[in-house]
């Protein structure tokens, strides 16, 4: 009854002409679309959590992607899975090249969880050391870790540095920024800045003496580790390959009438006259590549770090004990420079 009357009215209203009022805006069309809505959420497809029935490369990739997971246990488990899986596979049959694995894993150097970092180190050790690819990225992360606020991260990133030197000694010291920047990091960590901050000296305005800030509170474990790593690093950077005189004599005899013919060959390294810097920008000595021990040594000496290091290492030796022994190692490594120059 009522509804039919209502319906009738509604039907009629379709054919009614709305009365326009003078000077008023035209009413909106009845078929106008309201566009003032916004999507509240985006629905994703369901994630599949089952691992069965997937082929090994997929699982491998899945675990690799889990390295960026938010949960630390998941990261650690993925790392340990990879650590176990890689030795079983042949280096050539890995679903991803070792360089890709490394680039995925390297941010974990700065991870806040200790177990993840220790697991990471295990993973790094099982990677085939000859296929790591460019390592300047890893070195960047390592340096960031070495100057980290937390002592644990400092320690573990020193471990990573040790592994790097062990795995690829040549490229570690000769990659871009690998030499000077790493040395600078050590300089800051040990606060070996030469005469600037020695014990008992007066401060800048000459009013008060400032003690040298102690690097390690209580334990000297970190300091010892730093000194040891520095020693290996310096050794890697400064020791020249041993010249085998006999071998050279044999080689010279083989191409006898020619003398010093290597000097006239096409250069084997890239950009041989780079040191002249004919066309480049002003030098950024810090992030440059130093490919020869001689170049490295010169950079070390000219930046003033050699002098500062040798000055401060003697003081560190005076501390004696473990620190003194580690410092002695550094002093010995420093003598490589003295031997040559």
């Amino acid at each position: 009854m009522g509804s039919s009357a209502k319906k009738k009215r509604e039907k009629k209203s379709d054919f009614k002409k709305t009365k326009l009022k003078v000077g008023k805006a035209r009413p909106k069309n009845t078929n106008a679309t309201d566009t003032s809505f916004a999507a509240k959420s985006i629905v994703l497809k369901q994630q599949s959590l089952s691992e069965s029935g997937r082929d090994p490369p997929t699982i491998f990739n899945h675990n690799l992607s889990l390295l960026a997971s938010k949960a630390d246990t998941q990261r650690r488990d993925a790392l340990s899975w990879l650590t176990n899986a890689i030795p079983t596979m042949n280096a050539t049959s890995l679903p991803q090249p070792p360089s890709a694995i490394l680039s995925k894993a390297q941010p974990l150097i700065l991870d806040g969880t200790a177990s993840v970092r220790s697991q990471l180190l295990k993973l790094l050790r099982v990677l085939p050391s000859d296929q790591l690819g460019p390592i300047d990225q890893v070195l960047l992360y390592t340096r960031a870790g070495m100057s980290h606020l937390s002592t644990d991260i400092k320690l573990s990133s020193l471990d990573v540095l040790d592994w790097l030197i062990e795995a690829q000694p040549e490229s570690t010291v000769s990659c871009a920024g690998g030499w000077v920047k790493t040395l600078e990091t050590f300089e800051k960590l040990l606060s070996w800045t030469g005469a600037k901050g020695t014990t008992g000296s007066l401060t800048g305005d000459g009013k008060w003496s400032a003690t040298k800030p102690t690097v390690s509170l209580g334990s000297s474990k970190l300091l010892v580790h730093q000194l040891n790593s520095l020693t290996t690093f310096l050794n890697a950077g400064l020791v020249r390959p041993v010249r085998n005189e006999d071998l050279l004599a044999i080689q010279a005899a083989q191409c006898w009438p020619l003398w010093h013919f290597e000097a006239h060959l096409m250069p084997t390294k890239s950009n041989p006259y780079g040191y002249l810097n004919l066309f480049g920008k002003p030098r950024d000595t810090k992030s440059e590549m130093y490919e020869d021990p001689e170049e490295r040594q010169e950079a070390f000496v000219t930046s003033g770090m050699y002098r500062a290091f040798s000055q401060d290492v003697t003081e560190a030796r005076k501390e004696g004990g473990e620190v003194g022994r580690a410092a002695a190692g550094v002093a010995k490594a420093l003598q490589l420079v003295v031997d040559v120059g």
């Binding site: 000077g23 008023k24 035209r26 806040g112 606020l149 800030p213 509170l217």
Partner: protein, 765 residues
């Protein structure tokens, strides 16, 4: 074995802790800072290697470090010289891909560095401004705009920073001028409008930015600029008024002091009291400081004629303009053009012919067109141009067949045009239109009456004799009312001055003491002018006497009187009487001779205006008299009449600079049709509590609210009435059981109290 972590070794809790320590003793923690700074640098380097793929933890860490370094950079200015540049570079190159939180943090860090004065405002704004224009992110734009605004505000807080303002203004200007077609200019418009509103920018340069915006080639920018000219000043006034009345201002110092005396004394509370006192003092100082004189944007325009012409030629005149404006936007532009024309009395002849095609009742928002047309009419527009328009309106809108609201809109707009240029009307048309005052529709009636009363004032000779009314007819006869000719300019005078003089006469106020009092009321500052005897002495009585003298003489001559003695007597008396008696004497000798009356009138006006400096009290009275005169001229009988009276009062108080709106054109026609249910509900809800509206409450309730709003409490009677019944019971019981002695004591006490005047006694009275 679980190792105990020292507080220092916790990774996350560390940076704020270190920051705190650093700030206390920067020198001792220099090494720590260096470590953190190098950490920041290595993280930044890592980030720069792959800005898009850096993982979350790295970004979070970088963000924390940026925060840390920006908070402590001022302790180590030498170490961190590169830091601001780093941030600027990061933002510049990677703002589109940065993690939003990190991005916001970078902006925040830059602003922080500005606050610590590591970088200056120009440097900061030079970074943020291009970013605002470049970035695709809405959030970042909002943040940047807010930061730019707040920085400009703070740098203009103590004194106007002209250098910075000029720099930013020229940036805004360049932005619009360099690419008129881009919508980016909207940011310049927004910034300028906001700063105009806050009275930070109030100079011609800001106006010229908006001028360029109004002439640009993007619809949004154009409307932004036009809206500024139409509403910017009003917005500014409102903001200023709001600032004055905000609740912070009403600090009751006495109450706070009292509370401080009672409550526990803590450092915080003492501080609060001190800040409150400082605020009150500042407020007081601000109140006493001379009011800042702000010119409206329309008056600060350089070359309004050129601007109006260009606006018209660019946006309205061409059939295919470069900017496509919708009707609403076109109306805004039209409004601005007509406003400029009306305000500065510009000559823009093509504008009027442009109106013709829009003047039909079917045209959407025709009332706005009508309002614009009326607004653009002024006394220097040739009547020949306006006449066809008036005729067209009359033909299209005003006829017996058209609806009431249409006719009233037409009549109202004709009245508004003719109020500005009365010569645009022919007598036949006027006589025709005036006949509509007999219409049944109230709106039409009122509109026609308005037209009639207008022409009684400005051109009574065009009306039929019986429509002229008494005053106008008399005025015509004595030749006082004459139609102004085209281009004639009236003699400058103070409107309503004669009312004031009449009032003064009636009150018998003409003494020097009163004038002094008028000044005293004005301001505490001008108290030093108390010894203003010099001012009063300027009012030379001799001159007045001379005038009255000559008048008297002339009258006597006209009457051809040979009586020498009375003339002499009159001269004598005039010489002796002070100023107060002169008007009386002149009134006594008033005659109906038109010329003499005219002369007298002139002399009267000139006397008050030239012999006395009107005190502020005088001016206030003048205003009041003027408005009451306008109201009493049409005393209301019904509600609708009252409404009309209010409207005419509002119209009479309307300043020449105020715009004419569509609502004024449609006028009373809003009441001429039956309101729909929705409209009725809306009216009952909204306008109810406003003045004049019916708020549907009892008189008692309204009175009570009024009393409460005035801060008055209840009367004794009311208290008695409201007293709880149970509380009165005890006394009522006891009252019947009193002994005679008790009764006597009570009566005695009552009499005693009556004598004393209350319990405590009204000693003061």
């Amino acid at each position: 074995m679980k190792r105990k972590l020292g507080a220092l070794e916790k990774v996350d809790a560390d940076l704020p802790n270190l920051q705190h320590k650093l700030k206390i003793d920067p020198r001792s923690y220099e090494q720590d800072f260096v470590n953190q700074y190098s950490q920041y640098r290595s993280l930044k380097e890592l980030f720069l290697q792959s800005p898009t793929t850096t993982d979350d933890s790295g970004i979070v860490r970088l963000r924390d470090l940026v925060d840390f370094v920006s908070h402590t950079a001022d302790c180590y200015p030498k170490l961190t010289t590169a830091f601001p540049l780093d941030l600027v570079e990061l933002l510049d190159l990677h703002h589109a891909t940065l993690d939003p939180e990190l991005r916001d943090k970078l902006v925040g860090a830059l602003v922080l560095l500005r606050r610590k004065e590591t970088i200056d405002s120009v440097q900061l704004l030079d970074t943020l401004w291009p970013l605002l224009l470049k970035t695709p992110s809405k959030n970042l734009r909002a943040l940047l705009f807010q930061k730019i605004l707040s920085d400009l505000r703070t740098s203009n807080q103590k004194a106007t920073n002209h250098k910075l303002n000029r720099h930013i203004q020229s940036k805004c200007f360049e932005l619009i001028v360099s690419d008129p077609t881009s919508a980016k200019g909207l940011w310049a418009v927004k910034l300028t409008r906001e700063l105009w509103k806050r009275q930070i920018w109030s100079d011609a340069k800001a106006v010229s930015v908006m001028k360029e915006a109004a002439l640009s080639q993007d619809a949004k920018v154009v409307t932004g600029g036009v809206r500024f000219f139409l509403g910017g000043d009003q917005e500014r006034e409102e903001a200023a008024a709001e600032e004055d009345t905000d609740d912070e201002g009403n600090i009751d110092m006495g109450k706070l002091r009292h509370q401080a005396g009672i409550n526990k004394k803590t450092g915080k509370r003492a501080n609060e009291l001190r800040t409150a006192a400082a605020k009150v003092k500042r407020k007081e100082k601000k109140k006493n400081s001379p009011h800042q004189l702000n010119f409206s944007a329309l008056h600060l325009l350089h070359d309004p004629q050129g601007f109006a012409e260009e606006l018209f030629q660019r946006h309205l005149q061409p059939a295919q303009p470069k900017v496509r404006l919708v009707l609403e936007q076109k109306l805004l532009v039209l409004q601005l053009v007509s406003r400029l024309v009306g305000l500065h009395k510009l000559t823009l002849e093509p504008l009027y012919s442009y109106f013709i095609k829009f003047l039909t009742p079917k045209q959407p928002s025709v009332t706005s067109f009508l309002a614009s047309l009326a607004q653009s009419a002024h006394s220097l527009v040739p009547p020949d141009i306006l006449e066809p328009l008036v005729v067209k309106i009359a033909n299209e809108f005003v006829s017996e067949a058209s609806a009431g609201e249409v006719a009233s809109a037409g009549l109202n707009s004709i009245r508004e045009i003719c109020a500005r240029q009365s010569l645009a009307m022919s007598d036949t048309l006027l006589q025709d239109l005036v006949q509509y005052r007999k219409s049944k529709d109230k709106g039409v009636q009122m509109a026609a009456r308005g037209l009639l009363s207008l022409y009684r004032e400005v051109g009574a000779d065009l009306l039929r004799k019986r429509d002229r009314g008494r005053d106008a007819a008399m005025g015509l006869r004595i030749g006082e009312k004459q139609t102004a000719r085209f281009g004639e300019v009236g003699i400058g005078e103070i409107e309503g001055l004669e009312l004031l003089e009449k009032w003064k006469e009636e009150q018998g106020i003409d003494s020097e003491a009163d004038e002094e009092a008028g000044w005293n009321n004005w301001d505490a500052e001008s108290d030093s002018d108390d010894d203003g005897e010099g001012w009063i002495n300027v009012e030379s009585d001799g001159e007045e006497i001379d005038i009255s003298d000559s008048e008297d003489e002339r009258e006597k001559k006209a009457k051809a009187a040979a009586k020498a003695e009375p003339t002499f007597e009159a001269q004598q008396s005039a010489g002796n009487t002070p100023a107060a008696t002169t008007p009386a004497s002149s009134r006594a000798t008033a005659s109906l001779e038109p010329e003499a009356a005219l002369k007298r009138e002139e002399s009267r006006i000139s006397r008050l205006a030239t012999t006395r400096i009107l005190t502020p009290a005088d001016l206030a009275k003048l205003n009041e008299l003027r408005s009451t005169a306008a109201v009493t001229a049409a005393l209301p009988a019904t509600k609708r009449r009252k409404l009309l009276a209010a409207q005419t009062a509002a119209a009479s108080s309307r300043h020449a600079d105020d715009p004419l709106t569509a609502a004024q054109i449609s006028g009373l026609s809003a009441h001429s049709y039956k309101a729909t249910r929705q409209e009725k509900i809306a009216m009952a809800k909204e306008g109810s509590r406003e003045e004049g509206g019916n708020d549907h409450r009892s008189t008692t309730a309204r009175r009570k609210e009024k009393k409460e709003s005035e801060g008055k409490s209840t009367s004794n009677k009311e208290k008695e009435r409201k007293k709880n019944f149970l509380m009165t019971l005890g006394k009522a019981k006891r009252k019947g059981k009193r002994s005679l002695t008790q009764e006597r004591a009570i009566l005695k006490g009552h009499v005693e109290r009556r004598k004393r005047g209350g319990k405590r006694g009204n000693k003061g009275q």
